[in-house]
Point group: C2
Chain length 340, copies 2
């Protein structure tokens, strides 16, 4: 049974998840790569090979777990978290643990087995985003959860175990370490300046210009000033908004466009690199309003895209201190110029 354990030396939690399938005896020489079987469980017609679908956008008259869908959400078969039961926060000597209560869902991003965000119909990208929003709103109803994490692993080097385009949603009973750390910094900034730190970053990026990658009416894509990885790219709404799930209707299409066009630039420039994207949004119970600030004043949702083009070595893992060989200004220029 999966369990959540707290690292006593950080604010981080770890899921110890033997159900994920890897057993000690599986470890040998590395490179236990993706097992390829002939049949893709995510392709239309193979719906019976997946757990029962949670939700799908499908043609009228078609039924759950049948073809006719264009975006389909299913439980992750190898879920690291389970939905039944109580969180059960408890200690064990000096250690802290809780049950790995949560949800782990797969969003199948279309019927096509071979496609990606740069080749699919722009309207499908919008539909995928709408599915993310629908699932997030639904999962937020469960009071046991503290954070809903949307992310995508593209390519085996980025952690994908199946080729068919898909993203993932994880609901957690804790707020992840990075989001906590971002919130700590943004809250400090707001306390001092009464301004959102992300809004300040955005203003400086728009003024400096040299790290900008893409811009439309509602969104900006840029390489962060202290990029940890070459071609790390963030997409952020211009208008202050703490929560992804409260994105205004008129911003959904522009966000889908920003995601698709930014990924296309990375695709063409880096020749189809493996990548991860992650949506950072305010936690469910982020409610630290007081007399001088309103709820949600000091967080600002955004998407982080990390192409996996370099290896992360011991120095980085052991220190949290990254060496990035590519200045973000150069990366941004290279992307803007289409890899020339």
């Amino acid at each position: 049974m999966s369990i959540l354990r707290k690292d006593p030396l950080s604010n981080g939690w770890v899921i110890i998840s033997p159900e994920r399938g890897l057993q000690t005896s599986d470890y040998g020489p590395v490179g236990t790569t993706v097992k390829k079987s002939g049949l893709c469980p995510f392709c239309p017609g193979h719906e019976s090979k997946t757990p029962h679908e949670i939700f799908a956008y499908r043609k009228e008259g078609t039924h759950a777990d049948q073809p006719g869908w264009w975006v389909r959400t299913i439980p992750n078969k190898a879920a690291a978290l389970r939905n039944e039961g109580h969180v059960g926060r408890r200690g064990k000597g000096i250690y802290d643990l809780m049950n790995a209560i949560g949800a782990h869902e797969i969003v199948i991003e279309g019927p096509d087995h071979v496609s990606n965000f740069t080749t699919i119909d722009p309207r499908l990208v919008e539909e995928i985003i709408r599915m993310h929003l629908d699932r997030m709103k639904n999962l937020r109803e469960d009071s046991r959860f503290r954070y809903i994490q949307i992310f995508k692993n593209y390519g085996s080097a980025a952690g994908a175990s199946l080729d068919h385009p898909h993203s993932q949603i994880i609901a957690l009973p804790i707020t992840p370490r990075w989001v906590k750390e971002e919130l700590g910094c943004t809250a400090q900034h707001f306390a001092r300046k009464e301004r959102c730190l992300f809004c300040d970053i955005l203003r400086q990026e728009l003024a400096d210009g040299e790290r900008l990658v893409f811009e439309n009416e509602h969104f900006v894509a840029f390489e962060p000033f202290a990029s940890k990885f070459p071609f790390e790219t963030w997409i952020i709404p211009k208008e202050h908004n703490a929560n992804f799930h409260t994105i205004p209707e008129e911003q959904i299409r522009p966000f889908a466009d920003a995601v698709r066009l930014t990924l296309s630039m990375l695709f063409h420039t880096l020749q189809d690199p493996p990548y991860n994207f992650i949506v950072h949004t305010a936690p469910l119970y982020y409610r630290k309003a007081n007399y001088w600030k309103t709820i949600d004043d000091d967080y600002h949702w955004h998407m982080e895209i990390i192409p996996r083009v370099t290896k992360v070595a011991g120095f980085e893992w052991g220190t949290g201190f990254y060496i990035n060989p590519t200045p973000p200004e150069e990366a941004a220029k290279y992307l803007r110029d289409g890899g020339k």
Copy 2:
């Protein structure tokens, strides 16, 4: 020129290091793997192929940059930090940066091109540790530095770019993020309990027993309760000591034994896995003494070993929240039983 930039949304710094050699144009399909040339610059007889040696243990009568050494320290040719100049802390709008002042050294761990910690003479392991200590003590003399990081990348999947056994030492003008975070937790613990958190962990590990991997008179190797990675293993001195460089003389041999024998267990059980090891020690200016605690009361040096047997996917990178499929108790048992 390399520069240190602060991530405004965390306590982390990043080295932007175009000198490291990778240019934007080098990025293409991933897997720009280690370039193998016939000649190993770290082998005896090829001393002229490296920068001038900083320090070596060598036979009497032999000269610098000549054969006759058994452990040899040289500057890293592709150093991410440089030694000359001032740190130059400054801001740029809302961003913070400083010059990438520091040192980046390579410790060549013996003349043998093909060897590892499990096959070499135990006395050589001790000599390598002594070199780490000598270099750390020397680098601590430079008042610009705040932290000295010792680490090793073994195997190309762990970030090694040359096969010849070597470890690395980096001197930094900042304290890395993880060490800062550990210090935050240990200081809180000491404030509440007047005890070192690491000492408490050690006591519980010795009492529980199920995560222990190795023990001798002065050191314990164990799998941390909230291990982020399968077979993550820590080696920690039983006696409280904040600083690696103040290890008592009589503990050096037992530490070398603990490192060698723990790595041997990982080597045999996981069949020569790529791994990283990292020494965590107190920062140079960790001097927060006050009326109720002495200097160095609340940190405790240790070595972290991370075998690189699983891929790290988007979820982990984007959240700092790790999913580990192997319970540390199982990993410890597996190591103790020699992989059976």
